[in-house]
Amino acid sequence: MLKPRQMSHLFITGSKNQMEPVIQELYRQNVFHIEEFVEQTMEGYEGVKIGTPLPGASEAASKLIRIRSIENTFGVKLEDVVPQKRVPVQQLRETIDTKLSAIVSEVEQIQAKKSKCEAAVKDLEQKINELKPFAAIPLPLEMYSGYQNIAVFTGRISKSPDLIVPNETYFSHAKEGNFIAVFAPAEHSGKVQLSLLQANFVAVPVPKGEGLPQDLLNLYTEQIAAHKKEVALIQEHLEAMKKEQIEFLAACEELMSADVDKAEAPLRFALTNEAFLAEGWVPTDRVDVLSDALVKVTGGKILVTVLPIDFEHDSVPVEYNNPSFVKPMQVLIDVFNRPRYTEIDPTLMVSIVFPIFFGLILGDVGYGFILLAMAFGLRKFFKGEEGQQLLAVLRNASISSIFFGLLYSEFLGFAIPGLKPVLFSRHLMAETAHGEAGGHGPMIPELMVMSIWIGILHITLGRILGMINHARQDHGEHRIKAVLANFGWLAVMWGILIAIWSIAALPLMPNLTGLPAVVSIVNLGGVVGAVLIVLGVLFIARDSVLEVVEIPTIISHVLSYARIVAVGLSSVAIAMVVNFIAIGMFIEPQLKNFSIFGIFIIIAGLVIFLLGHALNTALGILGGGLHSIRLHYVEFFTKFYKGGGKKYMPFGMKQRFTEN
């Protein structure tokens, strides 16, 4: 539970002609994490090379590419497809070639048609853009050219030009720029050009075509609409095809990627002229099953050896080994880092403490039920495994929130009538939000001390785990030093605490002020505290002198747990303010003096109530979730946890669409 799954280092050797059945069996068993072979020039590695793919690799790979390109056209991913029923592999292999090429050619045809339409639309849009300026001038396009003695100028211009020669001019005002068409005798074209240039003339070529520009524009727009309709039809056709074929394609992809994986496996093995060598990791409890199976498929012509693990050089892949209620939390541990093989796996502790922190922060029955409903309602929309795990984490957190809500006696910021807070009250006012007596008033000092206690215990646990981890992982002199340094951190923390207790009496904390005094305000407790602090600093400095500057973090880390109360209270405050505005200021006064107009104000009050609590729920998830996990990542994990383990990825596949 607190350790990753135990792994064994396996070394499989056999003659080359046994390689294929071995690969098939390894893939079927889905437990062998291949340690990739790297070619080396060291002594003892002569003649050992990386293997070559099995025959059929490139064919399967090219099929896979085609399948994926079709899936791309359909816009689906394998993970998002929900399997309905599984197809036998044999049946799939028989039909795959014919059916797949039929689908490919059909999709390609449709795709070609679609791109043709889209290209036509683009072409027409370009033409429309060119024509638009001419639409304002009531001349057919053929009138702009074909003259012997008349020069034609068309273009954009900033203002109407002063033309001193005989001419015929069409001028149009428009927002995007004025447009002008000038017809003048060819012999004056130089003068015309000059006057036009003075008015910032920019020539625009006359588009090809015949007829009035406006008519052409209408025609083109109609054509675009027709093409777009066709594209929509094609899209519908594609959608229909997608629905029909997606299961088959998913099965094909699964089969082909399995084929490619198997065919390319020798690339990860070492090969000599006659034999192959495969190195990898298998969960210890599966070693016997796997080696028996390998012996069976090769008829005994194989050697499976379990190698001793060399923790200095081997990086052992890590697979979590947790009971099912802990599993969802693995996703949040992976976000930080997977534990290393020799390290304590903190998932169990986090999965217990995280919901408690969440509940302590967002302890509210109302919000708890809203989040619980969300955790179940969103299941449909998060298809991936990670999403499901996160929702399970949210579910556990919201149950804890409901539980602590009962202890705090809170429902959407209101006090639950008739229920006295078992845990310290967080209600900010001595009366409930809408003015009725019956609230409890906040118990800030007690809440603060409670959160500090949580911090002290959590950090103490972290340091103890740190001692265990160092004792397990380190060697020689460093091991003792590192363990003692962790003890030193604990000693300083508890030393400071005892010293504080001996000076001041705090609620919910031991009172040591009554101990016999030694010098002025320093009593026996103070002396014990001071000794612990000095001892602790010495232990820390013995391991690493630089660490001594980090000692103030002891206080900041412990005080950091005050966020459990602070963030929680801010959420209560927002809820109370929302209730006060919505009910106290909008709804209640209107209910007392009821009028028609008052209904609108009551509705406005309800809207404020809903929006405010929706906002507070969102903030509650963020505050409760982020701060709880942060307390683990920053305050807890830094004491003992490094992570950085390699993920265990067995060679094989969980079949979703196919069956053997």
Binding site: V335, F336, L559, S560, A562, V567, R630
Partner: protein, 90 residues
């Protein structure tokens, strides 16, 4: 209390008014504590956050570490909130 009474007589303020004004000062202090620490956290997280987003864009595995670094200065504003709460309720 006696001094308060004298002061109240001197400036012509009632005891309630003085108490209210003291409460107001406390509230102001709490507001300043939370506000300034909030700004401090914001400034600190500005640099870390942008660097963290850059690092995550380069390598998604950095996400956990990046989140950790980004939220480290949040302790400052929590301290502000704690001071504010203590001022108001203690």
């Amino acid at each position: 209390m006696a001094a308060e009474m004298v002061a109240a007589v001197d400036v012509g303020m009632s005891l309630e008014a003085i108490k209210a004004s003291q409460m107001g000062m406390k509230a102001l202090g709490a507001g300043v504590a939370v506000g300034l620490t909030g700004i401090g956290t914001g400034v600190a997280e500005m640099g870390i956050g942008s660097a963290a987003v850059g690092a995550v864009a380069e390598n998604k595995d950095m996400f956990g570490l990046a989140l950790l670094f980004t939220v480290i200065p949040e302790t400052i504003v929590i301290f502000g909130l704690v001071v504010g709460l203590l001022l108001l309720f203690l």
